[in-house]
């Protein structure tokens, strides 16, 4: 009975430690650009019936750290990518300076819309914890 309680306490302590780390350790990004690329051959794959999804319907960015949306078309044909049409080899760089939720018409998505959520800089422990939790939940929902 004692060992069960000890194990429970250990799990609780570890969980609290993880939450503390998630809240206190600064979120770092290797670049301010969130890059999405259409690989070469995407058009051919789609034509063959493969439902290739490249751009999520919701993209999350953070001011001052990762606040630039970068879209690149590496395919051999023009593609509607996010809010615009990109020629082969062309890229589109869209910076954000205000935290808000941005809606774009995007015919590449079934909903016809793409949302970019731009959050304030992750300066508080709470904002870092929320960012990480949302990231984990987002990854789980994709599984």
């Amino acid at each position: 009975m004692k060992s069960v309680r000890r194990a429970g306490l250990a799990v609780l302590a570890a969980s609290l430690g993880l939450v503390g780390l998630a809240a206190l350790v600064p979120v770092r990004f290797d670049s301010r650009e969130e890059l999405f690329e259409i690989p070469n051959g995407t058009w051919a794959r789609r034509r063959a019936g493969d439902n290739v999804e490249i751009l999520p319907s919701q993209i999350r960015l953070v001011l001052g750290a990762r606040d630039v949306l970068m879209l690149r078309n590496l395919d051999a044909v023009p593609q509607i990518f996010g809010p615009t049409l990109l020629m082969p080899g062309q890229s589109f760089r869209l910076p954000f300076e205000v935290a808000s939720e941005y809606q774009f018409a995007c015919s590449a998505h079934v909903s016809g819309q793409m949302t970019v959520v731009v959050e304030d800089a992750l300066t508080s422990p709470w904002s870092r914890l929320r960012w990480r939790t949302d990231g984990i939940l987002g990854s789980i929902s994709k599984l």
Binding site: L85, L86, S91, L94, P95, S100, Y102, A105
Partner: protein
């Protein structure tokens, strides 16, 4: 004496090196809008203009063009876009004549040249509108990646509305499609980018 002179020249050359390097390594302008890289030539068009003449993009080569797609019965988006562009034009002062606003309809059934003229004059008499055959306008929208869908309006008087892409395309003096201004950008941000394009 000669030695001192040579030393002075050498020193001046050495001091000027970093300046020269900085000048050749000029960073690309920091635009507030979405930037296309490399920019492509903006697809040209020939439409029925609101001024009674043909409306072509190429006729405005040498100016910066702000191109928007919309419709005159638009209850929310187009009036905001055009009001912002009118403010940008006002803020440009003497440079206003270097910016041409073009408004291409996505609703040719209702937007005649006369209707466009009346609508655009409300914002700025210098703005030009364009309409044309449905298929021609569809092809043009496709060339720019603009979407437009007809939907039943909540307002019975309107009958229908057009849901459409609400971005503004900024085209430079050479006719290259340089920037896409998403809906919601502030007047000052648009002004900032137009001014950068005008400097080129």
């Amino acid at each position: 004496m000669h030695k001192i002179h040579r030393l002075t020249v050498l020193l001046a050359l050495l001091l000027s090196l970093p300046l020269a390097a900085a000048a050749s390594d000029e960073p690309s302008p920091d635009f507030k809008s979405g930037v296309f890289d490399p920019p492509r030539m903006a697809p040209d068009f020939a439409l029925d203009g609101s001024n009674g003449a043909a409306l072509t993009l190429s006729a405005h080569r040498g100016k910066v063009v702000a191109l928007a797609f919309g419709f005159t019965y638009c209850p929310r988006v187009c009036p905001v876009t055009l009001a912002k562009l009118a403010q940008v034009s006002t803020k440009l002062g003497p440079l206003a004549s270097e910016l041409q606003v073009l408004f291409v309809t996505v609703d040719p059934e209702r937007d005649t040249p006369a209707r466009l003229l009346e609508f655009l004059s409300f914002f700025n008499p210098a703005f030009l509108g364009g309409t044309g055959e449905k298929a021609k306008l569809e092809a043009l929208r496709q060339a720019y990646g603009v979407s437009a869908t007809r939907v039943v309006s909540d307002n019975a008087k309107l009958g229908y509305e057009m849901h459409h892409s609400a971005s503004i395309y900024l085209i430079d003096r050479e006719g290259k499609l340089r920037l896409l201004v998403p809906f919601g950008k502030s007047v000052d941000d648009i002004l900032h980018d137009v001014q950068l394009l005008l400097k080129k």
